[in-house]
Structures are given as structure tokens and as C-alpha cells.
């Protein structure tokens, strides 16, 4: 049962990291434009030579 001493803090920490990540996505306004965010991955970073 000693393994619990390590495993429980590990699992809680992982959960906490997930939660912090989630809070960050809210703060970064990632839920304001779901359609746009999904399309943006298709864009190159160089702004030149693209469609009209």
C-alpha cells in the first residue's frame, strides 16, 4: 500500500495540471471563435502569396 503515497499525489497533480490548462484556455479566449480556430491551423504563418 506504500505505493499509494506516491500514486495519489501524482494523480492529483496530473488532474491539477489539466485544470490549470483548461483555465488557461478560457483566459486565452479559445472558446470565442471555435470555427475560426479550427480553420486557422490551415493557414501558413507567412502572410504573403496566398489566395486573392
Amino acid at each position: 500500500m506504500n505505493v499509494l503515497v506516491i500514486l495519489i499525489p501524482v494523480s492529483l497533480t496530473l488532474g491539477l495540471i489539466g485544470l490549470i490548462g483548461f483555465l488557461w484556455t478560457i483566459r486565452a479566449q479559445q472558446y470565442d471563435d471555435p470555427v475560426g480556430q479550427a480553420s486557422r491551423i490551415l493557414l501558413d504563418n507567412e502572410p504573403e502569396d496566398r489566395l486573392p
Binding site: L4, G15, I26, D32, L43, R50
Partner: protein, 707 residues
């Protein structure tokens, strides 16, 4: 506008020094894909004077920080092939959605807490005992209690609000179940009890928050689309300053200002006509489709549309003093007195909550009398409360209406009220306004029978008048060569006359030319020919009438226009009941009577319909109606969605049926689960399984509304 302060307008040099970057929002409906986003943002990146441009593809808007005036930005987008419309910042208010963000935050917190507690619970369910079990329970408590207190706050707040006014809503049993589950589990954990329901309390919160967030999202999408409609109408007026005209927002008009009203534009404020004559469409005020003639010094009302030549007028009332605004205030009063509707969910809660609470009390008393064990009896009573699962019941209605509203949104209908669909499913008649709702401004002629010579004369005369009926006639006879006419003279309010090959000819109102009736008449010396014309039916009006009848709804037309016109239209659409020449008050009265009798849905667009819209069970307005009208309506249709109105009725009926099915599922589940819980066999594992299955069944059933 970029030049925000008057000082800048006076001293243009100051503009270059001062940093007057303003943010502008443009609506660009044609944004579709990644290429559009890239193209627009690129284009603005290279445009001088633009600080920042960002596309929101969900809302189909572009946010721009720029020194350039709005029209420059719009034309810049036009250069690359995107049609853009400036949005009025004031009408949009704030673009942020604090409520949605708050809900998603709570949802996230409860979700993460639920997962961790579930992880620990699995260990307990698979057989952890003694100290290990107690440790796991205590860790669960440390995670669950703060999470529940934070995440379930919206339910607590709503439950308190309902209790304070002595009502029961769905949030009362939900809050009670959450609080008791958490409290009892804490007590059990501290006293080495076998069962803790922390995961149940958290998953209850989590599932219900999902429902709540979805509901909020669809509603706020409809609201922001409605706000966008309002923001698209940029309210501006051309004020005369010296010899020039300057374009200013309507809110800056003062009494005594002289304004120019161009052709086809709405009159910005109430005032007095300065020009010799004017022709306006005031159908939105009265429902009358015929244009109204005005002479010098006549009073014009804000909102009338100028159909003739541009004219000048002197402003006599602005803002809240205008007639338009006063009518809008009447509507507000009508809305406040509207019968409060009890939603399906509230009705269910009123039955459900007492039943559950009584069952819990019975279980407690039964067990206490039988065993005398207070703690055990209390545990069983709380298990009953948790396992009756307000979860499925809480999701039953919101899940369906969310799916239905988003389906209608894609069909071009904005549903602004959550209970609108339930109310629509229950109506048995539909009251229709005529002008603007069923008919478009403009006329269709039925003059195929007249001779070529007569058409040529009619066209020749019609060309000389700017009256809308003449314009329509000239357009109808577009392939006719006009006759040569001299001495043409327009008689205001009557018609046009002239001479043709020595014969005196005239085109105008029947009464003016000596024939009975008000039909358009062509007179050649002594011969009179009646040119019958009818109003243009809006596309989809016929399909709508037929579709609504197929669904067993009684149709009626309530119009402010003349009896002849209304009767003609009613016949065309096959509608037996019609009322003509109704004032706004009479319209509202009629609708109120029918609403009381058997439920009515009102469809209308004019200011004269607004009170009627607010009095009906449920109301629909077209998107091109005025602000006040759209605000009074529960459902707003965008574009030519008229033919889809019957489909909305179908969706509404389907969604009510599915909601009831969902209640059925929840009840069925309770019939099985409650006896188990009352017998004392409920375990946290059973509760968790039952809660998830029932919630997911209900959510899946709700999805059927999209089929």
C-alpha cells in the same frame, strides 16, 4: 466614425498628431473558410492606417483597430470581393459573454473534480476497505467540497430565488440533492462510513452544467444575431448646416434642425414638411399599403419611408418624444402584462419535487421506526434523494430545446425565448398581418387585356410621374414603346394628365377621373379603362399558408389596410377569416381574445402589429421589421424564410413531444430505482451508473430533434 470629437473636425491638423485609433466591427456574411480568414487579415495587414484586424469566423465578423473611417474599410473589403456591413457599436453593447464564460469555468472545475473523485471511488468500489477506504473518502472530500460549492452555485442561486417567492423549480430538488449528498458523505467519511456519494454530487453538477451551458450558448447566439440585426441599421440623418448637409447620428439631432430625407430612406424624426409635397409609405404605422401624400407643413412621423423625391423637413421631436418611440413604450407595457407562461420544466418540477421529498421522508420514517437507527435511516433517505436523479429531469427540457433552437437557427430562425417553442406547439390558430408580412411593397398589374395603343399611352403618362404605382406600371410595360405625349402635368394626389394627338388623356385615381372606386384608371377623351393592380405576394407566402393549414392551424388575416385589398389577398391565399381596417389597438384586442380562446401565434412586421405581437401566445417577425417589432417577437426570421414557418411549427411540436418522452424516460428509470433505494440497496456505484445512463439516454433522445 473616426473623428470622434468636434475639435478634430475643426482642426484637421490635430488629427495627425493625436492617436485616435478606434475599433470597428464589420459584419461579413460571406466568411466561410480558412482562405477567407487569411485573405481578409492579409489585406488589412497591408493597408495603411490599420493597426490590427482579426476575423471571428463563428460570428462572421471582422474586428478592426484603425484610423480609417468605416466606409474606407468597407470598400477595402469590397476590393477583395467581400461584402461588408458596418455594425453600430452602441447597439451591440458589449461583445463579451461573461455568463457563458462563467458557466464554462464552473463546468470545467466540476468536470476535473469529478474525474479525480471517480478515480478514487473506483478503488473503493473494487474493494478498498478500512483505513485505505477512509483515506480515499477524505481525499475525495477535500477535492469535492470546494468544487461543489463553487460549481453548483448557479443552481443554489436559482433555487433560493424560487424559494424566496414561494415557488418550486427544478433547481430546488437539484440543490437539495447536491447539498445533502455532499454533507452526508462528509459525515460518513469522518466517521469511517462505508458509502460516500462525492462522485454523485459532482457528476450531478457536471451533467447539469453541460445542459445549462448549451442552453445559454444557443440563446446567446440567437440574441447576438438579433443584436446584429439591430446594429446593421445605422441610424444616421443628413442635417443642413449652412448650405451643405452633414451626416450625423440620429441621436445628435436637435429640435429645429433641418434635415434632408433622400428617396427610399426612413424619416429620422417627427417633424414638419418644408418642401411643397412629399409621398411616403407609412404602412408600418397604419398597415395601409397605399402611399400617403403630404403637403407643406404636414407632420411626418419618424420611420415613414420617402417614396418620392428627396425633401427637407424641420425636426419637431427627437428621441423618446417621437411617435415611434411612444408606440414602442406601449408595447413594453403590453409585454409586462402578458400572462406568465408556466414552462413544461416548471410544471414537471412542481409535481416532481414534492413527490421526491415525500418519498425521502417516508423512507426515513419507515426505516427509523423499523430499526431505530437514526444514522442508517438518514443515509437511506438521502440515497433516495440522490438516486431519484433530478439529473435526467433537469436535462429533459433544456437538452431538447437547445437542439431544436440550433436546428432552427440553421434554417434562418432566431428563437429568442426558451419557452417560445412550447408555446408555439400549443397554438391552434395563426394571425397574419398583411402589408410587409404577406405582401411586399410594390404592385403587380393584370393589364394583359388592353390594346397596344392604350398601353403605349399609359406608359407615356406613367413615365412622367414618380408615384410608386406609376413606376410599377412603367416597369410592367417595360417592352412597350411609350406614346408621344405633350402638355404633361402632374396633379398631386390624383394623377397625370396630358394631350395625345389632340385628345386629352389622363392616368390616375378613379374618383378623380369620374369613375367609381379607387382603382388606377386610364382616360382617353371620354373613354375610361380600369387598370387593375394587386399587391405583390412575398415569395413563400402561399406555401406558408398551405403548410400551416396542413398542420391543422386556423389562419386569419388581421390588417390595417382596406377591406377590398385584404379580401383579395385572403382569397388568393385561400384564407376564410379576415379583418380589415383594424387600428393597432383593435388588432391587439382581437389577438388577445383569440389567445384567451384557444391560443394564437401572431406573425407581423409593422409597428402597428407590435402590441398584437406582444399579446399573442407566441409571435414571429421578419428580420427586416423595425427594431421595436423584432424586440416584441419571440422568433425572428432572417431572409426569405416565410415558406419554412410551417417547418418551425413541426419542430416545435416535435420538441415538445421529445421533452415529454424524456420525462417518460426519467420516470421509468425512477420507478425502478426508487424502490431499490427505499429498500436500502442503493450504493454509490449504483447511483453513479444510474445517473450517467439516464442522463445520456435523455441527451441522445433530445438529439432526435435534429433528424
Amino acid at each position: 466614425m473616426t473623428a470622434a470629437c468636434s475639435a478634430c473636425a475643426v482642426a484637421p491638423a490635430a488629427m495627425e498628431i493625436a492617436d485616435i485609433t478606434t475599433s470597428v466591427q464589420l459584419s461579413v456574411p460571406s466568411i466561410r473558410c480558412a482562405a477567407c480568414i487569411g485573405a481578409i487579415e492579409d489585406h488589412f495587414r497591408h493597408l495603411q492606417g490599420v493597426r490590427e484586424a482579426r476575423v471571428n469566423a463563428t460570428k462572421k465578423r471582422v474586428y478592426i483597430k484603425s484610423d480609417l473611417p468605416e466606409d474606407k474599410l468597407v470598400s477595402a473589403l469590397g476590393d477583395i470581393g467581400y461584402k461588408a456591413y458596418p455594425l453600430d457599436q452602441a447597439a451591440l453593447s458589449t461583445d463579451e459573454d461573461p455568463v457563458g464564460r462563467d458557466l464554462i469555468l464552473r463546468m470545467g472545475v466540476s468536470g476535473f473534480a469529478m474525474m479525480n473523485v471517480m478515480l478514487l471511488s473506483v478503488a473503493v468500489w473494487s474493494g478498498a476497505t478500512d483505513a485505505t477506504r477512509d483515506l480515499f473518502h477524505l481525499i475525495s472530500a477535500v477535492i469535492a467540497l470546494p468544487a461543489v460549492l463553487f460549481a453548483a452555485r448557479p443552481f443554489f442561486v436559482h433555487a433560493m430565488e424560487a424559494l424566496r417567492v414561494g415557488r418550486l423549480n427544478m433547481d430546488v430538488p437539484i440543490s437539495l440533492a447536491i447539498i445533502l449528498a455532499a454533507g452526508m458523505s462528509l459525515y460518513e467519511s469522518l466517521n469511517s462510513g462505508a458509502h460516500a456519494y462525492f462522485d454523485a454530487a459532482l457528476s450531478l453538477t457536471f451533467f447539469l452544467l453541460i445542459g445549462r451551458y448549451q442552453g445559454h450558448r444557443t440563446k446567446s447566439a440567437a440574441h447576438s444575431a438579433a443584436a446584429e440585426l439591430a446594429a446593421l441599421e445605422v441610424h444616421r440623418a443628413d442635417r443642413k448646416v449652412g448650405r451643405r448637409f452633414e451626416s450625423i447620428p440620429v441621436s445628435e439631432l436637435n429640435i429645429g434642425d433641418t434635415v434632408l430625407v433622400s428617396s427610399g430612406v426612413r424619416v429620422p424624426a417627427d417633424g414638419e414638411l418644408l418642401a411643397g409635397e412629399a409621398l411616403t409609405d407609412r404602412s408600418f404605422l397604419t398597415g395601409e399599403s397605399d402611399p400617403v401624400n403630404h403637403a407643406r407643413q404636414d407632420t411626418l412621423c419618424a420611420g415613414e419611408i420617402n417614396l418620392g423625391a428627396p425633401f427637407e423637413m424641420k425636426v419637431q421631436a427627437v428621441g423618446s418624444d417621437t411617435r415611434l418611440r411612444r408606440i414602442a413604450e406601449l408595447v413594453e407595457m403590453a409585454e409586462n402584462t402578458r400572462n406568465s407562461y408556466t414552462s413544461l420544466a416548471d410544471k414537471a418540477a412542481r409535481v416532481y419535487a414534492p413527490v421526491v421529498h415525500v418519498l425521502a421522508v417516508i423512507s426515513f420514517l419507515g426505516w427509523f421506526i423499523a430499526t431505530g437507527d437514526f444514522r442508517h435511516s438518514l443515509n437511506i433517505a438521502i440515497a433516495v434523494l440522490i438516486i431519484t436523479c433530478p439529473c435526467a429531469l433537469g436535462l429533459a427540457v433544456p437538452a431538447v430545446s437547445t437542439a431544436a433552437i440550433s436546428r432552427l437557427y440553421h434554417m434562418g430562425f432566431l428563437v429568442k425565448s426558451g419557452t417560445a417553442l412550447e408555446r408555439l406547439a400549443n397554438v391552434s390558430s395563426v394571425a397574419l398581418d398583411k402589408t410587409g408580412t404577406l405582401t411586399a411593397p410594390g404592385f403587380t398589374f393584370e393589364v394583359d387585356g388592353i390594346s397596344a395603343a392604350h398601353s403605349a399611352i399609359a406608359k407615356g403618362l406613367a413615365q412622367h410621374s414618380s408615384h410608386p404605382v406609376s413606376n410599377a406600371l412603367a416597369r410592367h410595360l417595360s417592352d412597350v414603346e411609350p406614346a408621344d405625349i405633350c402638355d404633361v402635368r402632374e396633379v398631386s394626389g390624383c394623377g397625370v394628365k396630358g394631350t395625345w394627338h389632340g385628345q386629352s388623356i389622363a392616368l390616375g385615381r378613379g374618383a378623380w377621373l369620374g369613375t367609381p372606386g379607387s382603382e388606377l384608371t386610364l382616360k382617353i377623351t371620354d373613354e375610361t379603362i380600369i387598370l387593375p393592380f394587386a399587391e405583390t405576394l412575398l415569395p413563400g407566402a402561399k406555401e406558408m399558408a398551405a403548410g400551416l393549414k396542413d398542420r391543422g392551424l386556423q389562419l386569419e388575416i388581421i390588417s390595417g389596410d382596406t377591406a377590398t385589398k385584404t379580401a383579395k389577398l385572403a382569397e388568393k391565399l385561400g384564407i376564410k377569416n379576415w379583418y380589415a381596417c383594424k387600428s393597432p389597438e383593435e388588432k391587439a384586442q382581437l389577438v388577445r381574445e383569440h389567445t384567451a380562446a384557444n391560443g394564437t401565434c401572431m406573425i407581423g412586421d409593422g409597428i402597428n402589429d407590435t402590441a398584437a405581437l406582444a399579446s399573442a401566445n407566441v409571435s414571429i417577425a421578419p428580420g427586416n421589421a423595425l427594431d421595436a417589432t423584432r424586440n416584441a417577437a419571440d422568433i425572428v426570421m432572417i431572409g426569405d424564410a416565410l415558406k419554412d414557418v410551417p417547418a418551425v411549427v413541426s419542430v416545435a411540436r416535435l420538441s415538445v413531444r421529445l421533452s415529454k418522452e424524456n420525462f417518460g424516460i426519467a420516470i421509468l428509470y425512477n420507478i425502478i430505482a426508487v424502490p431499490v433505494a427505499m429498500a436500502g440497496f442503493a450504493t454509490p456505484l449504483l447511483a453513479a451508473l444510474a445517473m450517467s445512463t439516464s442522463s445520456i439516454t435523455v441527451l441522445l433522445n433530445a438529439m432526435r430533434v435534429r433528424l
